[in-house]
């Protein structure tokens, strides 16, 4: 987290010509571009997303696919991969799955796709709900704050895992009745909904705390004095001062959701085979860890890369947005 060095502050005597007429986004981008670590991480992240989006194209180009069984690549006796490192060969660049001979690279790409879809959507929803309710709670105070606050306490007090497991059957069925296709689409939607529902109070609390300090600053009073309405004060005056914690929280939440989704898949409420999620692979691989460690290490490494790059990019974006404050 704290290893990158950024050059976010503009030199005091920077050319006026250059500064005049640039929007905030341009300024942030120019600061970000000078941050080498951030740029490397950003490239990795974009690559991961591109790979996930174009997984079908890539797999067909490589001649692999995640669904077809390959009996030749596994041993007849135990179902273990033939060859070293989990059956790595020219046909299967990252080896094959134990028992089925399905290609791990293809599974990884398709799994990344589903994991990123669930984690990204859930993070966006969490951030949106948490930020909105946190700002309202912090600024309004009084009864509104009490109602939102107690709701958050209630949600945080729920035995999260048990509720998700218990509701899984009922709610996925309900989603199907509402017109979501049966099977994995409704299961994915269910995961997104529960992750967001149980995730927003954490962010809302952070945001609320920040709002409590920001709203006391005089620029809020200045906005009131010029006749600004509540929406403007909340979302134009206060919200821009909260981007740092929100971004940091979101970039930490996304990899967490990848992990949570993996755990839920492991417990049987994630996506169903033959589809696989990124986390589901990790779950499967645990049984074979002592024999074929590469099966665990490959998705594990991608997960670590995902988490680290997200954190570093989040840090860099915050630095670029906030040349005033140092690291928090």
């Amino acid at each position: 987290m704290s290893t990158i060095v950024t050059s976010s502050a503009l030199p005091a005597g920077a050319d006026d010509e250059e500064i005049t007429g640039r929007s905030l986004r341009q300024i942030v981008w120019s600061r970000l571009r000078r941050d080498k670590t951030a740029m490397v991480c950003l490239v990795i992240l974009i690559l991961l997303y591109l790979v996930a989006i174009f997984a079908p194209v890539i797999t067909s180009l490589l001649g692999v696919d995640p669904y077809s069984f390959d009996g030749d690549s596994i041993s007849d006796s135990g179902g273990g991969p033939v060859g070293p490192w989990g059956g790595i060969s020219s046909e299967h660049p990252l080896g094959v799955e134990w028992g089925t001979g399905r290609d791990i690279l293809a599974q990884l790409l398709y799994g990344l796709r589903i994991s990123l879809l669930i984690a990204t959507t859930a993070t966006i929803l969490t951030t949106f709900i948490g930020t909105t309710l946190g700002i309202i709670s912090g600024y309004a105070g009084g009864k509104t704050d009490a109602i939102i606050g107690r709701t958050m306490d209630l949600i945080l007090a729920f035995p999260f895992l048990l509720i998700i497991l218990a509701l899984s059957g009922v709610l996925t069925q309900r989603l199907t009745q509402l017109g979501v296709p049966d099977g994995n689409p409704s299961r994915i939607l269910y995961l997104i909904i529960v992750l967001s529902f149980f995730g927003w109070p954490y962010l809302a609390r952070i945001v609320r705390g920040q709002v409590l300090s920001v709203r006391e600053r005089e620029f809020v009073e200045a906005a009131v004095a010029m006749g600004a309405g509540r929406p403007r004060i909340l979302f134009k005056e206060i919200l821009p001062n909260l981007w740092a914690p929100i971004l940091v929280y979101a970039t930490l939440t996304l990899p967490t959701y990848v992990g949570t989704e993996a755990a839920l898949s492991f417990l049987g409420i994630g996506v169903l085979p033959p589809d696989t999620s990124f986390g589901g692979m990790l779950g499967n691989s645990v049984s074979y860890f002592s024999v074929v460690p590469s099966y665990l290490f490959i998705p594990g490494t991608v997960l670590v890369i995902l988490v680290v790059t997200f954190n570093l990019v989040g840090d860099a974006v915050r630095d670029a947005l906030d040349p005033r404050a140092g690291r928090v």
Partner: protein, 398 residues
């Protein structure tokens, strides 16, 4: 820039009139079911008016309620009782929504230039905010208007897209001033606008405020604790103590012929530039602290620290009255003569002993305070600094 919101104003009507204003903050007990256990009487019955184009200074020590008065006058706080009129319109109980159009007639300049500007907004966005909020489209567009304002307050319009963090304290205060005057308000509440700045910058900012007043005819309610600063800019001055106005008169009257013992004490606390004169001056040292506004003293709120207080002051609260034409004071025993020959006996004589021991070698300091040439009319040059009570700072006095 076109003139915005002008013409609706009739001469002689005060831009701001505050009548018997009270602002009490409830003190709540801690716990699950908080109860109101007291009232902080921050402002307790204050009346004044501000005429168009005039500056009314509001002075007093920390915690006397001067800032609260300014905020309540702008309806940033809900007054407990009393009446606030803007341009003759009673806004005391007006809803926030109905207030919006009136907000363009009034603005505020804040004490802390670091907190008063949103660090996430560019200077252009900050100064242009009043246009956006009020839906005013100036001729030539907001951008041109903002650049014009920046130029007017002495900022480089090229810095339109910079952030407040890239500016010094004085420059930030100019940004705050530009925002305040953007819609050409009728009056501005200045809440200690220069107390966070260093002295040379103070002079520049005061001069800027004065120029803007001359150009746009803006009235100021100028809240400050610094008597020298208030003297620079005010036409009239109100002295506040513990939520009450103690004395209200023209600047010349106040500094030359103060009536209230508290004003005498305040004026004697202003340092003079000459160390010898400073050493030999008579100081009126008030003993004790400001009493708690939760439980203010009975009778005259100043009697606990007053050096002329008598028994009546403990029971009978003096009403502010017109002692002389244009000179209001809230005191049973206004001090009309200069205090030089009067032995000063405070409630705690030990505190005044030092000044008595020092003696008075260079004549009578309070007489100096009343010296006619001490009061400079605008336009005269400030030359003699040594015998003055107040250092106006370089180039400030006009």
């Amino acid at each position: 820039m076109t003139e915005i919101m002008n013409g609706s104003h009739t001469a002689g009507d005060p831009v701001l009139r505050v009548t018997d204003l009270k602002m009490h903050f409830p003190v709540r007990s801690k716990g699950l079911f908080p109860k109101t256990i007291g009232q902080v009487k921050a402002v307790d019955g204050v009346s004044f008016d501000v005429q168009p184009g005039e500056t009314l200074g509001l002075v007093g020590e920390s915690g006397c309620g001067k800032s609260t008065t300014g905020r309540t006058a702008l309806r940033l706080l809900e007054p407990t009782s009393g009446k606030v009129e803007m341009d003759g319109i009673d806004v005391t109980r007006m809803s926030a929504k109905d207030m919006v159009p009136l907000r363009r007639k009034a603005a505020m300049i804040f004490q802390d230039p670091y907190n008063a500007l949103n660090p996430r907004h560019t200077v252009g966005a900050i100064i242009g905010a009043p246009f956006a909020v009020q839906g005013v489209e100036p001729a030539g567009g907001v951008r041109a208007a903002v650049r014009d304002l920046m130029d007017r307050v002495g900022l480089n319009p090229e810095h339109y897209n910079r952030y407040p963090a890239e500016f010094s304290g004085g420059q930030r205060q100019r940004i705050g001033i530009a925002r305040a005057v953007a819609l050409r308000p009728h009056f501005i509440v200045c809440d200690e606008p220069v107390s966070a700045l260093d002295v040379s910058i103070q002079a520049q900012v005061i001069n800027l405020l004065r120029d803007l007043q001359d150009d746009f005819g803006i009235a100021y309610l100028f809240v400050a604790h610094d008597l020298a600063v208030v003297r620079q800019i005010s036409h009239r001055v109100a002295v506040m103590y513990l939520g009450h106005v103690m004395e209200l008169t023209s600047r010349e009257e106040l500094y030359a012929r103060p009536l209230h013992p508290y004003t005498h004490a305040l004026l004697s606390a202003i340092p003079v530039p000459d160390p010898r004169a400073q050493k030999n001056r008579e100081h009126i040292l008030l003993s004790g602290d400001l009493p708690s506004p939760v439980n203010p003293p009975s009778g005259c709120v100043f009697h606990t620290r007053c050096f002329v207080a008598q028994d009546i002051c403990k029971v009978d609260k003096p009403v502010i009255r017109e002692f002389e034409p244009g000179h209001q004071v809230a005191c049973h025993f206004p001090i009309t003569e200069y205090l030089g020959s009067t032995p000063i006996v405070g409630p705690d004589p030990g505190l005044t002993a030092e000044s008595e021991l020092e003696g008075m070698q260079d004549g009578d300091p309070m007489e100096q305070a009343g010296d006619a040439d001490l009061i400079h009319e605008p336009g005269t040059n400030y030359t003699d600094g040594t015998d003055s009570l107040i250092d106006p700072g370089p180039g400030l006095w006009r």
